[in-house]
Symmetry: C3
């Protein structure tokens, strides 16, 4: 466990067409955010989500086609090899209101209203525990 405190809260309108993850990561790097809590709602085009298969130690990719409501995006920023890394899980709704979700891999933004709550104190770093997994080193 690590006790931190809240610093800035960045409100971010991710531009249409940008990859949600790449954009937030780039902004975190530019702003020097080492540790933070991320929340986002909006809608995504052709999102790809992952399910971690522990036998194979890899993410199975689930490719969704079309526009999905981004019902919840919840995650964090911490350091991987000293650089800010976004870990985000998403719930996505289709036009019938059915939800799909998992580990966010990629997806183009149609609309995205995101917050990064920057945490100050000793940053959280990740360490590699398998080929695929980098977990918090707490």
């Amino acid at each position: 466990m690590k006790a931190l405190s809240v610093n800035r809260v960045l409100a971010i309108k991710v531009p249409r067409g940008s990859d949600l993850g790449k954009y937030i990561t780039k902004l975190a790097i530019e702003q020097g955010i080492k540790t933070g809590i991320v929340t986002v709602i909006g809608s995504l085009v052709d999102p790809v989500i992952g399910y971690y298969d522990k036998e194979q130690d890899k993410y199975l990719e689930i490719e969704l086609k079309g526009v999905y409501e981004l019902v919840s995006g919840l995650g964090n920023i911490s350091l991987k090899n000293g650089s800010p890394m976004l870990h985000l899980h998403v719930a996505l709704g289709d036009r019938g209101g059915r939800l799909y979700g998992g580990h966010f891999i990629r997806g183009a933004v149609f609309v995205a209203e995101a917050f990064i709550m920057e945490l100050k104190g000793e940053p959280i770093s990740r360490k590699q525990v398998s080929n695929t997994l980098w977990l918090w080193d707490l």
Copy 2:
């Protein structure tokens, strides 16, 4: 992008039978909250959710009947025409644990435990970009 900081955190028990969105919006107006992050869990009766259809530029309404667990309510408050507006996305669980979700349109509260994290700094305003969509003006 806009850098803000956290002010008050309002903990709200929405009364049974109230519309979730109307109640939170009214309280935000009364409390003078111009920008904030909203989270809520609980359960809703006969919730109606929307899927934004970009060809028609309107929300398709999905009407759910009965009581649903409000598994996640995530969103924000910002200004529309100078007045606080709630933008909320919800995930809703039926008695079999299946999830539905989208843009919150309306729904009566059975139980709702909500937080508004008020953000201080220059408020976020929305501007109209189509008949239906009002997006953050950042």
Copy 3:
């Protein structure tokens, strides 16, 4: 309604194999957290979720088997009989990306990255309103 403010933010890596709810509750007790906002992502093994049936005044239990992505965990800590209690709702994704969710009852952690945002001010307490339900006393 109660106006609070943010104190510490605890970042928690829940150990593999621990019950998510028991671990967070124990930590809240140890840290003296009376009121807080909880968010968590990761993955859970054999999670059990509940749907509150108001006619029977009890949670119907939905037992999921295997490993599920913990797509969103959202909830709070408040006091029940003077002791910190976790109220958490979860959305869980299977290997096909389908989502299930409801009131978190139990589930072993495979990975869990959690935050407790401690709130200071007058704590929130719960009071019993039926055999099963303990609601915020605001």
